[in-house]
Amino acid sequence: MKKRSEAEAIIERADASLLEIIDHVLNKGVMVHGEVILGVAGVDLIYLRVSALLCAADKLLPGRAK
């Protein structure tokens, strides 16, 4: 990953980290339609964990997902 200067730190283009992807696709709103075959108890938990990690995502996952 390129070294981030103060001004550069601002915008990360399409090279979103893995955790950003998880945050977007999961995003607390796991929905099940039709038959309810999935409880959502675990979702809040994982969402909280992901959110907490997101702030430190770059440090945790220096490699890019895409």
Partner: protein
Amino acid sequence: MRGAPAGLPGTGKPRAIDAGGGLWLVAADAPLDRYGEEPIEKGLQDLAWVSSVAVPHEAVIEHLAKAGTVVPMKLFTLFHSDDRALEHVAKQRRRIDRLVERIAGREEWGLRVTLDELSALDKARDEARDVAGRGSPGAAFLLRKKKEQEAARELLQNASQRADALFEDLSKKSDESRRRPPPPGEIGKRVLLDAAFLLRRGKTKAFQAAVRAQAKKLAARGYQLTLTGPWPPYNFVVDRQ
């Protein structure tokens, strides 16, 4: 669906199901022994597993977005059968048609604003000290203490006001915006704003420039702005809560 990514591990290949009127559902068969309630509940405890399904999900959506407007479903949107899925879509059709109109040709950008509380606090105290620097030594000391306390108290209040103002300003520069409850940050790094903006594709430069300008301005005060995108409009397909 030729050339589409393979989809989630263990599922069938993504297929297109005709919902009529130019609308297609893209679905893959998910075996219950891997994507039933229990395996998913168990999998959600494991970030590596979540990654292994989140990335292919996103890949399919991004692939399809190249060819047309996609209403991105959340991960694990499961239906009992194709018929159930079509039934659901038929019921929601008016809403979906409106939605497609709103998001056509647009993409989502995410902005997160964090505040380094410790360095911001230091800075606020320094400023307070400068203000209190004049007058007799005894009076200056007391004044300084008072100012320091005030600065600390005001810091968080100012921070949330700044985040509000920033969101409002950027909202005006976007077609639509959504604010999400801020996730918990690292210790000492408060997340002040977690927002999504819907922008017309190819018209994102001005928005980026505005974010960059704000970021420069706020960086000196300990704020960090992170813009990510473009995303499929995940945050704009759900009804406002």
